[in-house]
């Protein structure tokens, strides 16, 4: 391992850091407690609840994520995309490092569909209860991770071109919806109330696919090797886990 970035810190420097950090922690506690004792912030609970009927969903967190502060989410997806592009720019993916045993393969064959199903459920339920695109996307990505652990070096991801399209789909749809409302004269991402629920579901569906793709690709860690072209597209493809790497 040569991932050390700095020279070895001196013992005295380390001690200094510790003292300073203890002081910092003390300061933060003191400031926060003084403030919370005298004038605690009221939060935006009431406001968020009051506007909920205009948001198109009933889960307030989803309302914040995809309506009130939708721009944060759009940019956050872009951060995820940036990470994947950065990872791809750093070199090709390494092959899976482990061959799965039969037990694992059996387990995977059982777990993966379950993950996909629960992902779909979380996506759907996100409008009214805890859940949503991120959780769903993470579960799908987990399915991909298990595939890779099971010996599929590409974690069930399709070929590079399809991956690229999947990676931008969620962000693209998000931006397109925003542009559509803009063109309709309402302002960027200002959904008409009647459509809001459906538009949010549309965005979330594509965002789920994108999040799953991006997270899985980040786990695979590198640009897909161009030579290896598997034709079958799509995430939900089962693959024989007994392949020897």
């Amino acid at each position: 391992m040569r991932n050390s970035l700095e020279p070895k810190p001196q013992r005295s420097a380390a001690l200094l850091v510790v003292v300073l950090l203890i002081l910092l922690a003390g300061l933060l506690q003191w400031v926060y407690f003084t403030h919370a004792a005298t004038a605690p912030g009221a939060g935006l609970t009431a406001l968020a609840q009051a506007e909920l009927p205009r948001s198109g969903v009933t889960n307030p967190v989803t309302a914040v994520l995809l309506n009130y502060r939708a721009l944060d989410t759009l940019l956050e997806l872009s951060v995820l995309l940036t990470a994947m592009l950065g990872i791809w720019s750093l070199g090709p993916a390494t092959p899976g490092y482990q061959q799965a045993g039969a037990v694992f393969a059996g387990l995977a064959a059982w777990v993966v569909p379950l993950l996909i199903l629960s992902g779909g459920y979380l996506l759907w339920i996100g409008a009214k209860a805890p859940g949503g695109a991120f959780q769903a996307g993470a579960l799908l990505a987990a399915a991909g991770v298990i595939q890779r652990l099971g010996g599929d070096p590409r974690a069930s991801l399709p070929n590079e071109s399809a991956q690229r399209w999947l990676a931008i789909a969620g962000i693209g749809i998000f931006a397109l919806v925003g542009l559509a409302t803009l063109v309709a004269g309402r302002g960027f991402l200002d959904y008409p109330l009647a459509w809001a629920g459906w538009l949010i579901l549309l965005i979330e569906t594509f965002a789920t696919l994108t999040i799953a793709t991006l997270l899985t690709a980040a786990y695979v860690g590198g640009q897909p090797p161009p030579s290896q072209t598997t034709a079958t597209p799509g995430m939900h493809r089962m693959q024989a886990p007994d392949r020897k790497a």
Partner: protein, 100 residues
């Protein structure tokens, strides 16, 4: 009164466990062990958050923070270990940090 007290004790225990896990994670020298402890920390954190009335975030932390983040770190740790075992003749990796 006792119920509030019991709840307070419960909260304190939860937090102490959380901090204990954090300290254990941060102070373990073996990356792989640290990664596993990090996953445990993340899962415990999601429990705490569920307790704080944030089920959405708890779910996300369990799936993304602890789950995928942990898996990323764990696989990197395993790879690092594999490569350092492969280079057994290489000098001791500069992992020693001064005890603080």
């Amino acid at each position: 009164m006792t119920a509030t007290l019991a709840l307070l004790i419960f909260d304190v225990l939860m937090l102490l466990t959380l901090l204990g896990l954090a300290v254990a994670t941060l102070s373990s020298r073996d990356p792989r062990r640290a990664a596993i402890l990090f996953i445990a920390f993340g899962l415990w954190l999601s429990l705490v958050w569920a307790r704080l009335g944030a089920p959405d975030v708890a779910l996300a932390e369990a799936a993304i923070g602890a789950g995928l983040g942990g898996a990323l770190i764990l696989s990197a740790a395993r790879r690092a270990r594999a490569s350092s075992q492969a280079k057994a003749r290489a000098p001791t990796p500069p992992e020693r940090t001064p005890p603080v």
